[in-house]
Subunit: 436 residues, 2 copies
């Protein structure tokens, strides 16, 4: 049997502790599957004295992750500290420069510095594995990077934030407001005290930027993502969606178009009959659309210590199964130096269906005015719902679902309706996404 | 750049032709992703003169696949002939014995001879890749074999036959009979002239037997699969399922139980709200339940030339990315010689919920007699539906959904009801499966 694979783990939070526990509990089976032992020989975390409920055995303790990363005593550096800057960045860089393989769950780091780090890994002939960085335990990186080689991807989209999906699921199931569901999510530990990162789409954007690079062979560009959160989704939207055969999800979508690549994160209407519409609660799902395969969908737990540790262990095992001298595929599917510059499609050129909800004064001529604004902008309508029951005596709700049109046309039409002076409150516009 | 990877393809049917076409069209991109060229240098098929609409370039033609498999001019033997016996068996064996890597889409071959072939591959230090053998383009082999290393799997289940799923989907959507939908499927080329293999569960069983070995580390045992097809599913079942919140799918299920491993293929009720219930038409889906990850679901095209070719190309690319002297993980997750003997759980011990549909004489006391038979066998009922509208003047339908009970108890109870003489036709029993 080959020499044991010696790993050094930096970061012993929920995921780090799960990884150590899993290596202990599943040691025999992992050795059988990998043909060698995987041994955590060194660890590093902020507080040496904290009780994490794990057995660190004889693992050497480092106070400085960079020192651990450079240590000649390890073969693989496992970065589970998080954060786009130091010490994650400097330690991953140090590990790669020193010829150590790296496994990381750090989406922020990769979305910012992924291409630079990939170039170092490829120059040094070591692996940089990051399955846990996107959609937790779902093997979407492996699928895009290995299984779909040779497929030309046209679109990747998914539910990549469990907090946002949990809130939307409860809003729909229980008729509660966004604020009530957010509080529930915070109480249950699904949402942070400051939930901005999750509910405004930043977390999804980080993950999406990594998938975009893998899918389209371009450099990562997390700053070029159109982003809209779910905090202004109301019960009126959810009920109207249901009535029209849709469900609202916070999707990240990356799509090739004639003018470039669209990367967008926003609340989205998906058909209730689609598979992705059945992805409830904290579950994540990613769909990949290609020329050869059609649509592939992966769904499962997108977060949590054990699910994330499962992906980290898978990444470590891939390294354990390989042998010195071997070379695996490039970090982002194509060699880092051959990744294309990111060409951003203009959001105004986005083509798709739209859901538009107007709350209007209940008076004659309003409906005709709205219809005219749509027609003037070449927007053809798939359905129109005017609620018989007025929301109060003086106002009514008008809901439109458009056929494929453009973002620019919808903006112009909605601005026109707003200027006409018939609205009693801000109009709601939600994009519709095709989904199988 | 490394030397080109030379492949020999045996079998130029739909999948083989798609592989050749894809290698031609995606050559540049594949070279970039794999770091070397993939060149089909030799082919073999039954009829040399048939026009397959593909450019075979300078590929050397072999009449004998075994000769191709042994040829020193190839690095990888791609077996796309199908069939569990020769020439597939002898040629794959010859390729492995000669130290060539093998890629195959042949589920029948693997379900019968997989462990023997894996042992040869492992002894010779070559790869035997077979992603396309199960669920076409869905990367379920890669997921079980690589991504979920270290997870303890408790259950694998899925929709693995597109023909059967297409028929069930149309029966539900259009209210047509099994026979009508089968004819439609045949007309559209989704079903063979002799559809037995697909609709009676044999095809699903082959695929399931491979997943079982990967999931549970046991030897493949395709003969130990309980099998029931979909030909006796009627509109009455489908309507009753819908009414009770279920949908009927032909599932393959492998599950660890106290008494051994259950492998079963049968029509199954899954909750309408589950993700797998939304898998329609020829689409396949596989769910994997583990201790660390929870439930992971993969869905996508399970058949078709391009989707299957996508998986074959992925397998070839994995070989292309590796280098001589490297070693990858074992063929079925664990080394072939360490795979455990298959221990079959008794089907009578199967525990789960059941849907039971009785058609009974419309007379006093029938319902009480049925209820007594259930109670006598300790079967507790979740719901009872007795249709007001008699199916004709003299008979009625009684539908029961049980809480968890055993196969043995259900059989005994149903036999009791049958003996009581109240039934006007054969009772229908359909197992219910939990699904997220």
């Amino acid at each position: 049997m080959a020499e044991p694979l010696r790993i050094g783990i930096a970061g012993l939070g929920t995921v780090g502790a799960s990884v150590v526990r899993m290596l202990g509990q599943k040691g025999t089976e992992l050795t059988r599957q990998c043909g060698r032992e995987i041994v955590p020989v060194a660890v590093c975390a902020r507080d040496r004295n904290r009780d994490r409920g794990i057995d660190l055995g004889n693992a050497h303790w480092f106070d400085d992750p960079v020192e651990l990363a450079r240590s000649p005593g390890i073969d693989v550096f496992v970065e589970l500290m998080g954060g786009e800057g130091d010490p994650a960045l400097s330690s991953v860089r140090a590990a790669l420069e020193s010829g150590r393989h790296v496994v990381t769950a750090n989406k922020a780091l990769l979305s910012r510095h992924g291409v630079e780090l990939a170039a170092i890994a490829e120059k040094k002939g070591v692996l940089l594995n990051y399955e846990a960085a996107v959609a937790g335990g779902i093997p979407v990186i492996k699928t895009l990077r290995e299984a779909l080689v040779g497929n030309t991807v046209s679109r990747v989209f998914g539910i990549m934030n469990g907090t946002a999906n949990y809130i939307l699921t409860r809003m729909e199931a229980e008729g509660l407001s966004f604020e009530e569901c957010l509080k529930e999510a915070q109480r249950l530990g699904y949402a942070e005290a400051d939930p901005t990162f999750d509910i405004e789409g930043h977390d999804t954007a980080h993950k999406l930027s990594i998938l975009t690079s893998l899918a389209f062979g371009c450099r990562i560009s997390a700053d070029d993502i159109y982003m809209e959160g779910i905090s202004n989704i109301t019960q009126a939207d959810i009920r109207a969606a249901a009535e029209l055969g849709y469900r609202i999800k916070l999707l990240g979508v990356a799509q090739k178009t004639e003018s470039g690549i669209e990367q967008r994160v926003h609340p989205t209407m998906v058909p209730t009959s689609s598979v992705i519409a059945q992805v409830h609660g904290v579950t994540n799902a990613v769909a990949i659309e290609t020329d050869m395969l059609g649509e592939l969908l992966l769904s499962g737990p997108g977060a949590g210590g054990n699910a994330t540790a499962s992906a980290v262990i898978g990444d470590i095992a891939d390294i354990a199964k390989s042998r010195p001298g071997f070379q695996h595929g490039p970090v982002f599917g194509r060699p880092a130096k051959e990744l294309q510059p990111y060409r951003r499609a203009r959001m105004r050129a986005h083509a798709g269906g739209y859901f538009i909800r107007f709350t209007v004064h209940d008076r004659i001529g309003v409906f005709a005015a709205i219809a005219k604004r749509m027609a003037d902008n070449d927007i053809s309508l798939e359905s129109i719902v005017q609620h018989g029951e007025a929301t109060d005596d003086a106002q009514k709700t008008v809901i439109l679902v458009t056929h494929e049109t453009t973002e620019a046309a919808v903006h112009k039409a909605v601005e026109g309706v707003t200027r006409d002076g018939h609205l009693t409150s801000r109009p709601q516009v939600i994009r519709i996404e095709r989904a199988a």
